[in-house]
């Protein structure tokens, strides 16, 4: 009975492990292998090329431009998202009339695929007939319609703003989860101690929310860094590669220009970056877990050990 019991948990995780290895593990190995070879347009591996694909990538100005834009994109979207999400979560965590409706509305963008959102905004930002122009003209903010997506800086800015918009629900959800775990009696104690609302935020909420803010930063960085649909649907990295970030650049190299060696090299570089952030995340999660087991301690229980 004992040996059977000991092997059951392994049998239970094995199928899931198998699929994940097959779909996620194998491609990584394949990418690494491919990146070290010269590759034909059609994916045939030719001669071993060492690090040639990597040096090729590093010799490409477009790579640096995309990299730089990726950094701007990631920092701007994640930063903007956090700045908006924290106050939104604080408001949504408080009790007020119509809160559940407000929550539903704020969460809406999460329900919709990025593709659809991007398609709709592309239409909304249309220079000739876009209703954003209509709205701004009705409000007399602008006199003439603006071609939002015709120039790279304007298009990129619009894409960043939309990126922020679609990241808010997820981030707010993390914060709401965090806020709901804060100890209510600390707030009551602080009121007795004479704290104002601002003091409470500064000295109780913010320090206690720090692990959640950290987690939100890391997860958002990972998601935003990898996000293709918004830019792909709205401008496909154009005009003139002016809105290309690493993922769009990678996608073009792989599936437009057939430069598979270079594309796999970039994939691998991105994989490395992701790995660093994932490691960061794992460390944070573990720290949060040890923290929470201290106060979430079981009562008696000689069994836990």
């Amino acid at each position: 009975m004992k040996s059977a019991l000991r092997s059951t948990p392994l049998l239970m995780i094995l199928p899931s492990l198998g699929l994940a290895m097959f779909v996620i593990g194998y491609p990584i190995v394949d990418l690494a292998w491919t990146s070290l070879h010269e590759v034909s347009r059609f994916g045939q591996l030719r001669d071993f090329a060492g690090l040639y694909n990597f040096t090729d990538v590093f010799g490409e100005p477009l790579f640096y431009e995309s990299l730089w834009r990726t950094i701007i994109w990631t920092v701007a979207v994640v930063g903007g998202t956090l700045l908006i999400s924290l106050p939104v979560a604080l408001v949504l965590n408080d009790d007020f009339i119509g809160r559940s409706l407000a929550r539903v509305i704020i969460m809406l963008p999460w329900a919709i695929s990025l593709t659809m959102t991007a398609v709709v905004w592309r239409w909304g930002l249309n220079g000739r007939a876009g209703l954003l122009n209509a709205t701004l003209m009705d409000l007399h903010v602008i006199a003439e319609p603006i071609e939002w997506l015709a120039t790279a800086p304007l298009a990129f800015t619009a894409e960043i703003l939309i990126g922020i918009l679609v990241s808010i629900p997820f981030t707010t959800t993390i914060f709401l989860g965090g806020l709901s775990s804060l100890p209510q009696d600390s707030y009551e104690a602080s009121v007795v101690d004479g704290a104002t609302g601002w003091d409470q935020f500064r000295y109780i909420t913010l320090p206690l929310m720090k692990p959640f803010i950290n987690i939100a930063i890391v997860l958002n960085v990972i998601y935003v860094f990898n996000s293709l649909p918004i830019i792909w649907v709205m401008t496909e990295g154009g005009p003139a590669n002016g809105t290309d970030i690493l993922v769009t650049y990678l996608y073009k190299l792989a599936f437009r220009f057939g430069q598979l060696g270079k594309a796999s090299a970039i994939s691998l570089i991105m994989f490395g970056v992701l790995l660093i952030f994932t490691a960061l995340y794992v460390v944070m999660v573990m720290r949060a877990e040890t923290d929470s087991t201290v106060d979430g301690e079981h009562k008696d229980d000689d069994v836990a050990a």
């Binding site: 008696d300 000689d302 069994v303 050990a305």
Partner: protein, 356 residues
């Protein structure tokens, strides 16, 4: 019904050893209470009897059959869990009858036996309700019903009353004991509450840090605790302890406390002169003395409990508690004289804690 024999049982989780060789013989029809502070291993031991934890070393036998390798379902044991573990998606009737259903009893038999259990526990009105709709005490009864519908060989209770309020706890205590007197099923009951242990047990097993400190009837443990731990753990308010040295004087053997106070000690004991000892006396074994008898104590706090007054005073530089059933009008700062009856004094070796 059956005996339960626990022989040299050990439990380790990895490197952490929870039980260090525990042996207890539980006789058929006996009600045995395992008591001890949290973390002492009592729940682990109970779960090992149930088959919910594996046995690292040693044997457990039920009705003289070793059950180390028998899965829980075949041990013919019923258990009442601390959080009751009622199946939330089943009615009270189905909760109680589940074990019979698994044993493929006929519908008629299940119905009549559930009915019978419900009558014993006053649950007839609630059989169709879901556990959610019951109060804490009612849930506790359902958990009991689930156990007693089975005619199991052994009943195990894992702190079954700890989630009830104080008043209900006292009522249920009596009910469980009455039930045992009626059914006579061998029972093993785990609690951290020594009052529960004293009031319910035929025999008590006091455990501490994975070891058995003493096994005995409630009054044996109360009157002759084997060591300091048991003396301190059993009884409320707990026994008073004063450290001192054994000495011989004009009035016979005494214990001389650090401040020179001499306390009367029993004349027959196994210690030697000059030995460091701990002098133990229960609060109710102090009496008031006059003149030169007894020793001087300074009253600090007086707490009336209605039936008695509890007086906290400083005696021989220690804070002690004395209980009187007369309503003495003591005030803080009063000087009183406390005497002890040598027959009710306990002496322990200061180094080992063992009773002398």
């Amino acid at each position: 019904m059956a005996s339960v024999e626990i022989r040299g049982v050990e439990k380790a989780f990895g490197a952490a050893k929870i039980l260090h060789g525990v042996s207890i013989d539980i006789k058929d029809q006996e009600f045995v209470v395992l008591v001890g502070p949290s973390g002492c291993g009592k729940s682990t031991l109970l779960r090992m009897i149930a088959g919910l934890e594996s046995i690292s070393k040693g044997e457990i036998a039920i009705g003289s059959k070793v059950i180390n390798k028998v899965p829980p379902k075949d041990r013919d044991i019923a258990m009442v869990f601390q959080n009751y573990a009622l199946y939330p998606h089943m009615s009270v009737f189905d909760n109680i009858g589940f074990s019979l259903k698994l044993r493929k009893r006929t519908k008629g038999e299940i119905a009549s036996r559930v009915q019978e259990a419900a009558e014993i526990l006053n649950l007839q009105k609630y059989l169709q309700r879901s556990p959610r709709q019951l109060s804490g005490g009612q849930r506790q009864r359902v958990a009991m019903g689930r156990a007693l519908v089975r005619d199991a060989q052994v009943f195990l209770y894992d702190e079954p009353l700890s989630n009830l309020d104080a008043k209900l706890r006292v009522t249920m205590r009596t009910e469980i004991k009455a039930l045992h007197q009626r059914l006579k099923t061998t029972s093993v009951y785990v609690t951290h509450d020594q009052i529960e242990a004293l009031t319910m047990a035929d025999r008590i097993v006091v455990m501490n840090a994975g070891r058995v400190e003493q096994v005995g009837t409630p009054l044996q443990l109360y009157d002759t605790p084997a060591n300091l731990f048991v003396a301190d753990f059993i009884g409320s308010p707990s026994m008073n302890f004063i450290e001192g040295t054994l000495a011989r004087s004009d009035i016979g053997v005494v214990v001389e406390a650090v401040d020179g106070t001499r306390l009367a000690a029993p004349q027959e004991f196994g210690g030697r002169e000059g030995q460091k000892v701990v002098y133990g006396v229960r609060p109710e074994h102090f009496s008031l003395a006059t003149g030169d008898a007894g020793s001087e104590a300074v009253v600090e706090v007086v707490e009336p409990t209605g039936a008695n007054i509890e007086v906290f005073a400083t005696l021989a530089a220690e804070r002690v508690c004395a209980i009187f059933n007369q309503r003495h009008p003591f005030k803080p700062g009063d000087k009183i004289r406390l005497a002890t009856d040598p027959d009710h004094v306990h002496l322990f070796d200061a180094a080992t804690g063992v009773r002398l």
